[in-house]
């Protein structure tokens, strides 16, 4: 069993999120969407940069999410906008046993 780095924050248990779906959570005052996708666990900002749509409610595939409001699509790994418009910030996720931890300190943005 390894230890959790101090920078990561406990978010939820693995079973709190159904397979292939996302849920939003407020961590440290920020609303983050956590996804249990085909390609692994991901965390991004919860609001779609287009019109604020709830990305946690989006359809998820291996490593992308589609905003339920206007179908904007984002790469879960990099946060890059795959359709149009602005990207979203991403956060590192660690799974320790049945716990999900998010590293909030360093939001990542896709390379321009």
């Amino acid at each position: 069993m390894s230890t959790v780095t101090p920078a990561s924050t406990y978010a939820c248990c693995v079973d709190d999120i159904p397979r292939g779906e996302g849920r939003s959570i407020i961590l440290d005052g920020r609303r983050i969407a956590i996804f249990r996708a085909g390609g692994g666990w991901y965390a991004i900002d919860a609001a779609c940069p287009h019109r604020g749509g709830p990305l946690a409610d989006g359809i998820v595939c291996d490593r992308a999410v589609i905003c339920p409001l206007h179908d904007r699509r984002f790469d879960l790994d990099t946060g890059a906008a795959l359709t149009a418009g602005d990207p979203v910030a991403t956060y590192a996720v660690e799974i320790r046993g049945d716990r999900v931890y998010v590293t909030l300190g360093a939001a990542q943005w896709p390379a321009a």
Partner: protein
Amino acid sequence: MTPGIVIVGGGIAGQAVCEALRERDRDVAITLVCGERAAPYDRVRLSEILVSGENSETLRLRPTEWYADNGVDLLVGRSVTWIDADRRVLGIDDTDELAFAQLVIATGSQPLMPPIPGIGLDGVHPFRDPADCDAIRLAAASGIERAAVVGGGLLGLEAARGIAAQGCAVTVVHLLDRLMERQLDAGASSLLAPALAGLDIDVEFDRNTQQIIGPDRAHGLRFTDGSELLADLVVVSIGIRPESELARTMGIVCDRGIIVDDAMRTSLPGVLAVGECAQHRGIVYGLVAPIYDQARVAAQTLISGAGAGGVSADAAALYLGSVPSAKLKVAGIDLVCAGESGGDMEAVVTDAATNMYRKLSVRNGRVIGTVLLGDTRGSEALVAAVRSGEPIDDPLQALADASLSGPADLPDTAQICDCNGVCKGALIAAVIDGGCATPREVMAVTRAGTGCGSCRPAVKEIVAAATGGLNDEPAYLCPCRKQTRKSLAEQIRADGLRSVSDVANACATGRACGACKPALAYLVSEVCANQHREERDARFINDRVHANIQHDGTFSVVPRMYGGVTTPDELRRIADVADKYEVPMVKVTGGQRLDLLGVKKQDLPAIWRELGMPSGHAYAKAVRTVKTCVGTDFCRFGLGDSVGLGIEMEKLWEGLHTPHKVKSGVSGCPRNCAEATVKDIGCVAVEGGWQVRAGGAAGGNVREADILATVETRGDALRVATTFLQFYRENADYKERTYDFIPRVGLEKVREIVLGEESGAALRERLRIAKAATQDPWLERDEPYHPRQFDDLDEPDPEPALVGPPAGAEL
């Protein structure tokens, strides 16, 4: 920073110059100064907002990031207060100074307000910007008895339409004896007034407004002949006044507008003018299309250095004037006109009974103008002929030919989008060379259809022809893997696949982009007759929580009321729920149901429990409502029991998912109060039986439903309608409505299978099996598919204590 180009005025013209510049030069510094509080928006479409009440934000020409991405310094809500042409410096809000190398004046125009008594009263508005739009809409919807629009030009008529759409009586008063006199001849104008009357817009001619009746606020108009019109809202739309004040203070030569030459240069070196503030060869253009032509020339002048006068203007980049063309954006009236309204030879086809008028004007053997009212078929070809001054022998034949031609028949040089000057060839290039597959992609790349929007149907038709002709690609269910509904259905059957993940494992569908997962989920459920393994991650959020997501992430709840019939007890429960959960809006829907809007996701299960009513499926691609009239129950005209049949249909079909939503209706007589003839499936009682229809539409397009059969009994009607439903369920592409499905398959083929004895019986049997496996999704209130089905996590729960070695034991 070296001084660059400053554009004064952030209207359509300023934005157009900005874009035309960036297309030609990625590096030159550009500053766009917008006097209005909003970033550049599409003023032409204000009349749409007036009708719909949508937020004016939707008119934005470009999102904020576009300016950053394109290196344009956008100043919003800032005014240029002075310009020192010698020092090449201008003042912004008297506080900041900005140096420029070249300047473009695009200050547009102001609405012309006649200096008559009462013009300044409350309740008198111009129609120029979003604030006017809001004020007019609010006043029109406030329950006043009548509104008046002064001026029967294009904008005045659009304003009147917007007012009428709020349910307010409106009268257009016009100075002359014919409407839109700049564009229309007497013949078309005389048919336009009755067409407007059909939209509850009255028109009075020869009315010279002398005074607006006060005294506290506007109460009406008084005309020079002494007559009066009572109106509590007055919209003035009599014309525009070019905004040339800034230019005049700089000593630039002005007449009505700022005088420009063919390179869009004013009398002062290095200063150009574009748009409604400019006067070119004596003409001030008040329409949108010429602005784009002018902007392109201005950009060329600026980039070539000709603007400063050092180089002679490039002959290729001269503006020689525009052929004016206009489309009236009034729903219910089709009107397109271009060029002159008369010539030395004219061909006219007209039908007063239907307010149809088509005219082609010719001078010296060339097409110089067209007016198309009520029937605008072939307008793209005719307007193109006017623009190019096409030689013509037989204008009557040309009119007839045009009515048979669609946009797909046009030459590549024909301009389709007048706003952005996009030719048909550019649309096709976007498909063939640019790899665009959908009208939306083509519009994003070419900007066609992003101005006033009136060319969108033509763009769609051209793109459809271009993509269809390219390789006859079928409609893919999964475009990433190029798999069709048919090929996937075969594989599901052959391999006994039972879930979306089975299909993904077998053929890799739905994994790359995920967009097709809901389509796959439907297909699996349909092929397996609802005995599939449900995987909610493949479903759109609406089908995960059985409610319809709204723009703010809340949901709407529509309980089922069979046939639109309810009871006092149900109404009480709905009212109690609305009170208890502080539902922000309770609305009667078009399908005769009650919609609770603005519900929080986590409240859904409790609300369903307290309603004690089944799901209305208003969120799903499924059988929605069956709208009914009261039929023989109470109506004195009823021929058939529409309520009874409607309830029977709804109970038999309830819970069945479909490729797209299915809205139905049953009318008890041909008066058709339930609008059954524009439903996906509709039944109409007629003398001696029932008409069963399908494929109707009353959305963006209106389509009368095709008659599948006329049958004798209510039981027969239910049988035919049900058989069609299953045929649609099994054969339509995902997201293909019945009104697209039937024309694609062909009505005869549909009838053959649906009405065939054996084929019909087989369809009904499969529907029965599928129906038997459905259950009310709202029962998941007690048996959720996951403990967190309706919950977000919000604040994290306290971290559970570790089991095993104490925390930190391994540090």
